[in-house]
């Protein structure tokens, strides 16, 4: 049992990638279907905002969980899906911001600037999106080569900060019921704990 799925063939990985790609588009497809059926409820803009925000944070959380899962299960191939999942987090983040910009604010720049500078939850959420941009831009193999593994990894550690910012953004906008932000916070803490444990192990091992 332990050895099952230890290695996957390239073909299996390609197929899995295609499957994950389609699954990751499902939230957007569902929103569009509901939209065309005029079935987004009484406040469709709020619903789209909430939904795209939820999926941004969900994909960030899944991306964050890949490395700890790989460490725990010794399944190296898990890492092969990390880039795509991270890019989907960025994709939904951009959709989320576009919804705010176009549908919610309708390009009311004065108010948007005020929101970003004065409303802490928007400041934090906007910063998270800005910080995600260089990660998306440098996600290609060519950029990894140009930056060099060490620098690239250091840059991409920003994802901790980004996910934490996403959780705070959600936490601060909720009126009273913080149960959902709490779940995201707990998952993030769990991922970080596992990573910290293995980082310590590695240090101990290399010192020995």
């Amino acid at each position: 049992m332990l050895d099952r799925f230890k290695r996957l063939s390239e073909r299996t990985i390609t197929r899995l990638k295609a499957l994950i790609f389609l699954l990751a588009l499902w939230p957007l497809a569902k929103l569009m279907i509901l939209g065309f059926q005029d079935d987004l409820g009484a406040n469709p803009i709020e619903k789209i905002l909430r939904n795209t925000g939820f999926w941004t944070l969900t994909f960030l959380t899944i991306t964050m969980a890949i490395t700890p899962l790989r460490q725990l299960t010794q399944r190296v191939w898990l890492g092969r899906f990390r880039r795509m999942l991270g890019l989907f987090a960025f994709f939904y983040g951009v959709l989320h911001f576009s919804t705010y910009l176009v549908l919610d604010q309708f390009f009311d720049w004065a108010n948007i600037l005020k929101d970003i500078s004065k409303r802490p939850y928007i400041t934090v959420g906007f910063s998270a999106l800005v910080l995600m941009t260089p990660l998306a831009v440098t996600s290609t193999d060519a950029m990894l080569k140009r930056l060099g593994g060490k620098r690239w990894r250091r840059l991409h550690r920003l994802v901790y900060l980004i996910t934490a910012a996403g959780v705070i953004h959600f936490w601060w906008l909720v009126k009273k019921d913080i149960s959902e932000p709490l779940i995201f916070a707990a998952l993030l803490a769990l991922s970080l704990t596992v990573r910290a444990y293995y980082a310590r192990q590695n240090r101990v091992n290399s010192a020995a």
């Binding site: 409820g41 009484a42 406040n43 803009i45 709020e46 549908l103 309708f106 108010n111 005020k114 929101d115 409303r119 802490p120 939850y121 601060w172 906008l173 009126k175 009273k176 019921d177």
Partner: protein, 309 residues
């Protein structure tokens, strides 16, 4: 003399036929009632016998009934907007009593059916502005809250009125979690409660209140944010000191006692300058006192509305 039918059995309308006729009639009645509902805001009221009050028929376009009854904040049934419509079926609105007590000369307990006859029911179309920056326009049915309060003869030291919602986690599943300090409590100053705009409400869109909208009796205070309009009320207490409401306990720096709609005083976390009218795409500017300044601004003369938010 014994009665003898000279009809033979086969001349009598067969049971199945008259049964189906009855069914047809009942269905027709239901259709008529539904049509009446659709026409309700234009005067022909079904369900509740209420006269449309011409003083409260603003230009604003009504929010459709399906949106009014499917997008609600009523944490007793869950914290998402869809929860109340989904979960409020467990609320039993009969029998129901509402007790009016405290600093009054004649405390009384009213049965809901008695309450419905206390004063002539009228339909009033009010704007409803939620603290979350969305709004609706709703045809309510009720009578001025003052008519009820006069029944108990408030004493001179009755300065405030406290409203208490039912607390029963079996009927209100959202109360199984301590999202707010149950029972839900709200309050008004006595002069606010006596203002003719404050409506003791028993219906909307021509019929009794759906459970998710605060059945069987609630208040509607249209110049204040929606959370001030307590729902499913079981107790009204007249008191001398300013009551501490559930939302004041939950977030004292965010929710004040007055909670008057005010575009110039932002919620600490978001702007109150604009609102999205449900059904609209573009936001519209929020009006001071939700557009009811003429009727209520004088209540707050000389008060610092930034401090008394």
């Amino acid at each position: 003399m014994r009665y003898r039918s000279d009809l033979s059995e086969r001349e009598v309308t067969p049971r199945s036929v008259w049964e189906s006729r009855r069914e047809f009639l009942q269905q027709s009645l239901a259709v008529t009632a539904a049509a009446g509902l659709a026409l309700a805001p234009f005067g022909a009221l079904a369900g509740l016998d209420a006269k449309s009050n011409p003083d409260f028929r603003p230009e604003d376009k009504l929010t459709s009934r399906d949106k009014v009854i499917s997008y609600n904040n009523f944490y007793e049934f869950g914290t998402s907007k869809e929860d109340p419509a989904e979960n409020a079926g467990t609320l039993k609105t009969r029998p129901w009593t509402i007790s009016v007590e405290g600093e009054v000369n004649q405390p009384k307990t009213f049965d809901i059916d008695q309450l419905l006859k206390l004063a002539p029911l009228e339909e009033r179309i009010y704007r409803m502005r939620c603290v979350e920056a969305w709004s609706m326009v709703i045809p309510w049915i009720g009578f001025p809250l003052s008519a009820l309060l006069k029944q108990v003869d408030p004493k001179g030291n009755a300065k405030y009125v406290e409203f208490e919602t039912l607390k029963d986690p079996d009927q209100m599943p959202g109360q199984r979690r301590n999202v707010l300090n149950w029972p839900y409590r709200e309050g008004l100053r006595i002069d606010e409660a006596m203002n003719p705009l404050a409506l003791l409400t028993v219906g909307l869109y021509g019929d009794v209140l759906p459970n998710q909208n605060g059945a069987p009796v609630r208040i509607v205070v249209p110049w204040k944010y929606g959370f001030k309009s307590a729902k499913s009320i079981v107790r009204i207490r007249l008191v001398e000191k300013m009551p501490v409401t559930s939302w004041m306990q939950a977030g004292p720096e965010e929710y004040g006692f007055y909670a008057n709609v005010n575009p110039d005083v932002d919620h600490p976390r978001w702007s109150q300058a604009k609102e999205r009218r449900i059904g609209d795409f573009l936001k519209r500017p929020t009006l001071p006192f939700n557009g009811y300044g003429e009727q209520v601004a004088s209540l707050y003369a000389g008060m610092d509305l930034r401090r008394n938010f």
